[in-house]
Amino acid sequence: MSELTLRQEFPIFNAHPEIAYLDSAASTQKPRMVIDRIQGFYESEYATINRGLYELGYHATNNVAKTRDAVRHFIGAKDSKEIIFTSGTTAAINLVANSLSQGLLKPGQEILISQMEHHANIVPLQRACDQYQLRLKICPITSNGELDMDAFKALLGPQTGIVALTHISNVLGCITPIKTICHLAHEQGAYVLIDGAQAVAHVPVNVQEIDCDFYCFSSHKLYGPSGVGVLYGKANLLEAMPVYQSGGDMIETVSFEKTTYADLPNKFEAGTPPIAQIVGLGAAIEFVSQIGFDAIQAHDEAIQSYAYERLSQLKGIQIFGPTSNKSSLHSFVLKDAHPHDIATILDQSKVCIRAGHHCAQPLMSHYEVAAMARASYSVYNTSNDIDQLISALSQVIEVFQ
């Protein structure tokens, strides 16, 4: 039995013992250790960073620096100055879409994304195309629900400026072969931006091995606090890119005639950063590291194969995405029951799932559905949660048949 037994580490299940929380792909619950770290920081360590000439400020600055290094280590980056703290994945992608397109691309070049991207990895790039005269290209997915690599190779060319792909689809769960993607893209001189929002809690990431140019994720999907995320970028690219947001902390000198900007990482961190959240993210990374990805992946596999076994037996169910080489979630529809009705009925049995377009409307269009239901699994889920899900779904089927 490779199931983890971490439920008791999450205070939310103390407050709501009856809940089967199956919406971790939207946001994970927080372990005691992360909540305590944030509380402890506010209670005895809080100060703003970078400028404090007093001890509290020095320690807070150090704490942030330590977390930056922990993030560097967590994703295998070379240098901690390549780790930019943002308010989340969305802000990170906006930064890259904007600054990279403006600074290092030429009008007429292409941005290549896929049919299965999250809106966060579509709209900022779409807007960059409008603003900088670039063209958006869409790579289709296979009938199996994975990136169509043949189509990808055909679409990729010397005209490609940026390849922006999700590491793991938040709807299909499929894992993109990003190492191969980076190799192919670099051969054509394109930069690669990976949306790692769904990946960092489930698979080990080593950006140097992957050789991606940019990688981003959100703390709140990694057992950490809301309000903070990470952009990794190769130092030489971040150095060459124009600044994005501006203000305090990211400048070197300001005068009304001329402003010069600070070095990395400060150059891209305008204003007071989410200090306590960064420290909390540090605790989340420690939490994940203590469990280890071997155990996490074995757990994911145990839960998701059990879930698939049970789900696939339900009458009238259609499950999307591949059945192997995938992450820990299942998106599905039931014949005759709309996903919103499913979610409402499940909620009455204390089963929390998501229903809707999952911020992936082009993917919904591809499957010609308006919405899907999605159950997503995490370290605190158990096979009991799956049993609860299945019995609630049986009730749905009963109501709607």
Binding site: D336, A337, H338, P339, H340, D341, T344, I345, Q348, A355, G356, H357, M364, A370, A371, V399, F400
Partner: protein, 149 residues
């Protein structure tokens, strides 16, 4: 009756299975398009108004059981009524589902009262309201697209 049973009453489920007045309506005098961007509910409502009465009505589109049943029952309700008669019903319905209707307002709702259970499900109020918002829009002659979010 459990909260759930009061939401998914048999009449709602049956309208969901077999919606009334479903399809296009050409020609029509009034039209509106209602979408709920959060959940993807998406309906068109068509009215043909002659001598100030709704002589024909239809809807098409897709959505959850609540929004579809609401649309289906709406079409039954408005058929044959004048705009002046429809407006207070619409207002009363929107109050019913947001739990602000008076006893008198409820009284005029007839079988629409089966939607009262929706008020216990705040996230679903918009589903029941969507087609009524489209109606509101259609009869205000704006012929636009409306959205409930």
């Amino acid at each position: 009756m459990s909260r759930l049973a009061s939401l998914y009453q048999e009449m709602i489920l049956s309208h969901n299975r077999s919606p009334q007045n479903f399809g296009d309506l050409d020609p029509h005098t009034h039209h509106s398009h209602g979408v709920n961007p959060v959940c993807g509910d998406d309906f068109h409502l068509y009215l043909f108004v002659e001598d100030n009465r709704v002589s024909k009505v239809s809807f098409k589109g897709q959505g959850c059981a609540i929004s579809k049943a609401s649309a289906s029952i709406l079409t039954e309700t408005v058929l044959g009524k004048s705009i002046q008669e429809i407006i207070p019903i619409k207002d009363a319905f929107l109050k019913l589902i947001s739990d602000t209707a008076s006893t008198e307002e409820k009284a005029q709702l007839g079988k629409l009262k089966i939607f009262e259970g929706v008020k216990e499900f705040p996230v679903r109020v918009k589903c029941a309201a969507l087609i009524w918002r489209a109606l509101e829009d259609a009869i205000s002659q704006q012929h636009g697209q409306i959205s409930t979010e």
